[in-house]
């Protein structure tokens, strides 16, 4: 076996210099190729946030009205809270955030019912609202969704304007201390100049979150590839509840989609639960909505998260909800 020559100082320094040069070249190349701005789609020129539309003067209130006629029950539910005039004043510019997620007929109860959208529009205008805008971001073919759900026709006949989302309708938003809502596209255009926000949501089973109620309804204000959030559905609903502070929510439990939500499809998925809920506390509304699905607030982690953060109460009975019935 031959003995290798020992490394002398000259060789060592030469090798060290070469190794150092390799490191510098590799590091320099990395630095040169590093895109500090990130992908172009995420370049943020302007971020937006939604105003707080809640009315501190009203405090947390809820009404529960049973009956099969949405027009009658929503009128009675709002009257029990002091009337729509308590929430909508002359000159208000009202946004109604409906659920128009699917191009599905109203009979399948996968979306906000057009009769309810029309009646709330009429009530707002009668209370003096300067305008009512009905909006949602259904992602897939918004014109078909608004048309086939019957929402467009009913809302426009009642005097509302439909705001269909376009790419320019979205601006990035960031929620403070959020895990998920960071630089995320928010449907903001319909809110320009808006002074009041009412959420109109149906009660539905949901494959991922267990339930689709008023807080989940804000999901339709997100743009982008929002399906990534389904991996952490309870957190995104909770963050949406922090992001969106409505004037009022109306939860339509006239017909509840008990199974196979959120799309449903069969009339067998539906049950007549004949209840209309109006509330200034979305957490309480959702906690009651859970009972229509045969669940409790404890079964739906997003309710617990929202309640723990002080966004409302999961103990809806503590609000002494005003109960009534209309034939």
């Amino acid at each position: 076996m031959s003995q290798s020559n020992p490394l002398d100082r000259r060789d060592f320094l030469l090798r060290t210099a070469k190794a150092g040069a390799a490191i510098v070249v590799a590091g320099g190349a990395g630095l040169w190729l590093h895109d500090r701005k990130g992908p172009a789609a995420n370049i943020v020129s302007e971020t937006v946030s939604l105003p707080d539309f809640s009315l501190p003067s009203t405090g947390p209130k809820m009404s529960l009205v049973t009956g099969a006629d949405r027009v009658k029950t929503v009128n009675r539910a709002l009257a029990a809270l002091g009337g729509i005039e308590r929430f909508i004043k002359s000159g208000d510019r009202v946004v109604l955030k409906v659920n128009a997620a699917f191009a599905s007929p109203p009979a399948l109860s996968a979306t906000s019912h057009p009769d309810l959208v029309a009646e709330v529009t009429r009530l707002c205008l009668r209370a003096g609202a300067a305008s009512v805008i009905v909006t949602d971001n259904p992602i897939n073919d918004p014109p078909s969704c608004f048309s086939l759900t019957g929402i467009s026709k009913a809302a426009e006949a009642a005097g509302a304007k439909i705001a269909l989302p376009t790419p320019s309708s979205f601006k990035p938003t960031t929620l403070a201390d959020a895990t998920l809502i960071k630089d995320w596209p928010l449907l903001i255009e319909p809110f320009h100049g808006a002074t009041k926000l009412i959420g109109l949501a149906p009660v539905k089973d949901h494959h991922r979150s267990g339930a689709s109620l008023t807080m989940k309804n804000w999901y339709g204000l997100l743009g982008g590839r929002r399906n990534v959030f389904h991996q952490d559905i309870n957190t995104i609903i909770f963050e949406l509840a922090r992001l969106v502070r409505p004037t009022l929510v109306i939860l339509d439990g006239t017909t509840t989609m008990m199974t196979n939500g959120p799309t449903g499809g069969s009339l067998d998925d539906l049950k007549a639960t004949n209840t209309m809920i109006a509330s200034t506390d979305a957490v309480a509304a959702d906690a009651f909505g859970a009972t229509l699905l045969g669940k409790t607030a404890a079964n739906l982690p997003f309710i617990g998260k929202a309640a723990a953060a002080g966004l409302g109460t999961a103990d809806f009975e503590s609000l002494n909800p005003l109960r009534d019935h209309v034939d």
Binding site: R9, A101, A107, W184, T263, S266
Partner: protein, 340 residues
């Protein structure tokens, strides 16, 4: 050793130390960065485990799975095609149900009756890649009050819609206006579809392993991921039993999963027992089915799990112990006779 060798060794140690320090810094940077990804950039894709003995097939070509329309129907909209990347656009929160079952593609179209164009339906063809995967999504959404159809072995109708599996396809047809002409047209289209896409070998052998006594017709199902909240349970076949003479008129869910070897089955059985016990389950005294191991009381319901040959089987979330033991024993006997 010479002085120069000692100095050289010391220098080399320092250089080596500095290089290691740089590498550690890079590793720390990578570790830190993974916790602050931008969700707008990183799009999570659902895992798509395959049903037994399958590989991912190619999607059907555009419109291949939409049949020729019956004469009484006309197109109300253009056909739409969705892939795993955008299925969510169409079905929102239900996309995961299909994606986790091996979804390949969706083609759908709205169709109207020519005579009364305001009466329309939507036709959905989910290409699930294989028969078991199509059966999985069919079974997970089956409506309790459904009426069985003679279209294929897996087909039913509700008052306004019909659902069936034909080979690799899971098909839904839904209308909000279930008039007689519309329901008839829907069924005619379904028959055309089955003729155009014959189901082929439409049997799922695992379903025959469930004993027939007290089995609820049409109650069999397949969960291809995270069955019963246990992430090691994949491709779990289930069937419901109703014991009319039991104290509680109990409904019992029996299950089984095939593994590659008896050793794997035993290990999976042990893992599920450990999962139950680690999450608050308590072993209780064995009753009638003592040979299958101690039942576990888990959240006030009874679980029995056992390994038989290369299969893991048992009963899940049964309200009373006697019913659980009875069905578990029936299942064990059936598996012994009908080993796959």
């Amino acid at each position: 050793m010479s002085q120069s060798s000692i100095e050289r060794g010391r220098t080399e140690r320092w250089v080596g130390f500095i290089i290691l320090l740089c590498l550690a810094g890079i590793a720390a940077g990578v570790y830190h960065k993974q916790f602050s990804f931008n969700p707008a950039v990183l799009v999570a894709t659902a895992a798509t485990p395959a049903a037994p003995g399958t590989t991912k097939p190619a999607p059907s070509s555009q419109n291949e799975s939409l049949p020729t329309l019956p004469p009484e129907l006309s197109a109300l909209s253009a056909p739409e095609t969705f892939t795993a990347d955008n299925l969510y656009d169409k079905v929102d929160g239900k996309a995961d149900l299909y994606l986790t079952a091996g979804f390949v593609g969706l083609q759908c179209q709205r169709l109207a009756l020519k005579a009364t164009s305001d009466v329309w339906m939507e036709w959905f063809v989910y290409d699930m890649g294989t028969l078991p995967q199509a059966f999985s999504v069919f079974s997970l959404q089956r409506r309790a009050e459904a009426q069985t159809l003679d279209l294929t072995p897996f087909a039913y109708q509700t008052q306004n819609s019909l659902y069936f599996v034909s080979g690799r396809y899971y098909v839904e047809a839904v209308t909000a206006m279930p008039t007689e002409p519309m329901m008839a047209a829907m069924l005619a289209m379904a028959r055309q579809f089955v003729a155009a896409h014959p189901p082929g070998a439409a049997e799922i052998p695992e379903l025959k392993l469930f004993p027939p006594e007290n089995l609820e017709a049409g109650s069999q199902g397949l969960q291809v991921a995270d069955a019963f909240g246990f992430d090691q349970f994949t491709n779990v076949f289930t069937a419901k039993y109703r014991l009319p003479n039991s104290a509680t008129n109990a409904e019992v869910l029996a299950f089984l999963e095939l593994t590659k070897t008896s050793t794997a089955a035993a290990a999976l059985c042990d893992a599920y027992r450990s999962f139950l016990l680690a999450n608050g389950g308590k072993e209780i005294e064995a009753g009638a089915a003592a040979s299958l191991g101690k039942p576990i009381n888990f959240m006030d319901n009874i679980e029995i799990v056992f390994a038989e040959s290369n299969m893991v089987a048992g009963v899940h979330a049964v309200p009373d112990a006697a019913s659980a033991a009875k069905v578990a024993q029936q299942l064990a006997d059936s598996l012994r006779k009908g080993k796959p």
